[in-house]
Amino acid sequence: MTWNNDWRRVRAIAWKDLTTERRSKAGFNGVVALGVTILVLFGFALGPDAQAMRDASAGVLWLAALFAAVLAFNRSYQVELESGALEQLLLYPGSRWTIYTGKLLANLAFVGLMLVIVVPVGIVLYQVSVPATWPALLGVLALGATGICTLGTFYASMSSRSRAREVLLPLLLFPMLVPALLAAMQASKALLNGDMMHEAGAWTKLLVAYDVIFLIATHLAFEHVIEA
Amino acid sequence: MPNNNWTYITAAYAAAWIAVIGYWVFVHGAVRRARARYEEALALAARGERRAQ
C-alpha cells in the first residue's frame, strides 16, 4: 500500500519540478543555448581541421552535455530553498527517497530534452555522419545521461544548501563521473566509427554497472543527506 | 645519463621528507593550538561555574 503512495509522491514531485521549469522556459532555453555555445567554443579549440573535430566529436558532445546539465542540477533544489518548501516537504510522512527519485526523474527528463536538441546540432557542427548503429547510440546517450543525472541530483542536494554552491557541485561531481564519462565517450566514439572492434559493448556494460551501483548507493545515502 | 638519474632520486626522497616533516610540523601545531583553545574554554567554564555557585 505504501509502495503505491511512494510512487505517487515520486510522480508528484517530478511533475512539480518539471512544470516549474516549463513555466520558466528561460531556464530550459538557457541551458540548451549553453550546450550549443560550448559546442561552438570547442569547435574553435579543435578546428578548423574537420577531421580533428570529427574525431573529438563524441568527447566534446558529452562535455557540452555535462556542463549544461550542471546548471540544471543546482536549480532543481533552488525553488524549494528559496520558498522554504524543502522543510515542508520533509514534514510530510513517508520515505525520503521519493523526493530524490522525483527530482532525479525530473532532471532526467530535462537533460534528455536538452540532448534532443544539442546532439543533432553537434552532429551538424562537427560534420559527423550518423552511423547505422544509431539506436545503440541512443542507448548509450540514455545510460550516460542517467549516470550524470544520478550523481548530479544527489550532490546538488548538498551543494545547493552550502556556501560556494557554484564551485562545489562541479568539484564534487566531475571526478566522480570519470568512469561514466569515459565509458559514454568511448562507446559513442566507437559507434560513430562503425565499432569495428566491438568495443562499445564492453563500455556499455561498464556504464550499466556504474548506473546500477550509484542509483542504489545514492538512494540509500539520500536519507542521511536531506535531513541534515 | 646514469648520473642524471641521481638528481631524480634525490628529488624523490626530498619530496617524501618534505611531505613527512611538513605534515609533522602541521599536525603538532594543530594539536598545540587546539589544546590551548580547549584549556582556555575549560578555564572559562570553571570560572562561570564558580560565579554561579
Binding site: V178, H224 | I9, V20, A34, L44, A45
Partner: protein, 234 residues
C-alpha cells in the same frame, strides 16, 4: 569541582609520540636499506631506488582511504561525531599521501619515459582519486554545522571510496583497448626487505599522523562543547 558534561573528554597523547618517533626511525632505516644495500636494477638502473618511496606511499594511501570508508560507514551507523573526525583525519592524511604519490610518479616518469606526465592507468586513477578527496575536504570546508558536515562527508566519502575501483578499471580499459604500452610495474631485482620496511614505516607514520590529527580535531570540538556548556550555564 566543575560539573561539566564529561562525554566530550578529548583523547590524550599517551604513548603516541613515542610511536611516531619510532616510525620515523623505521623510515630512516628502511630508506638507508633501500638506497645503500640494494643493487641497481638491470632495466631501470638506479631509478629503482625511487620505488622504495613511491610504492609504500601509494600502498599506504589506499589503506588510508579504506580507513575513511570504514569510519564514514561507522558514523552513519552509530552517529558518534568522533567517527566523523576520524574519517576526516584519515582523509586529510590520505590526500597528502596522494599528492606525494602523484609527485613521485611524475619524478619517476620523467627520466623513464622523457615526459613529466603519462596518461598511464595508475597515475591517472591516482589523479582522479586526488580530485575526489580534494572535493571531500572542500565540502568540509564549506559546511559549518558539525552534524550536517558529518552526515554529508560520510555520504561523499563512501561514494568516493566505492568509485575508486571503478575509476581504476575504466581508465585501465581506456589505455589497453587502444594498445598503448602500459608502464612496467613489476621489477625483478627489487629488494623486498627494504620495500617491506619502508612500507611498514609509512604505515606506522600514517597511523601516527591520523591519530594526532584526530586528537587536534577532538580538542577543537571539545572546546566548542565546553564553550556551549558554559554559555548555557550563564
Amino acid at each position: 569541582m566543575t560539573s561539566l558534561p564529561t562525554q566530550w573528554i578529548p583523547p590524550k597523547p599517551g604513548r603516541w609520540p613515542l610511536f611516531g618517533a619510532s616510525a620515523l626511525g623505521l623510515l630512516i632505516a628502511g630508506q638507508a636499506l633501500g638506497v645503500l644495500a640494494s643493487p641497481p636494477d638491470r632495466d631501470m638502473g638506479d631509478l629503482e631506488k625511487i620505488i622504495y618511496v613511491h610504492v609504500p606511499a601509494a600502498w599506504v594511501m589506499s589503506v588510508t582511504f579504506a580507513i575513511v570508508m570504514y569510519y564514514s560507514l561507522r558514523y552513519l551507523w552509530k552517529r558518534d561525531e568522533r567517527d566523523d573526525l576520524a574519517a576526516a583525519s584519515a582523509a586529510e592524511v590520505g590526500t597528502v599521501l596522494n599528492a606525494l604519490t602523484l609527485t613521485l610518479g611524475m619524478i619517476f616518469a620523467k627520466p623513464t619515459w622523457g615526459v613529466w606526465w603519462t596518461w598511464d592507468a595508475r597515475l591517472t586513477s591516482t589523479l582522479v582519486l586526488f580530485l575526489i578527496f580534494v572535493g571531500y575536504l572542500s565540502l568540509r570546508g564549506f559546511v559549518d554545522d558539525p552534524e550536517r558536515r558529518a552526515q554529508w562527508s560520510a555520504a561523499v566519502g563512501i561514494l568516493g571510496a566505492i568509485n575508486v575501483g571503478i575509476v581504476y578499471m575504466s581508465v585501465r580499459w581506456w589505455r589497453t583497448l587502444h594498445q598503448v604500452q602500459s608502464s612496467p610495474d613489476t621489477v625483478d631485482s627489487i629488494y623486498v626487505l627494504a620495500l617491506r620496511v619502508n612500507a611498514f614505516a609509512f604505515l606506522f607514520l600514517m597511523i601516527y599522523f591520523v591519530r594526532r590529527r584526530y586528537e587536534s580535531m577532538c580538542l577543537e570540538r571539545a572546546a566548542d562543547h565546553a564553550a556551549e556548556a558554559a554559555a548555557l550555564r550563564t
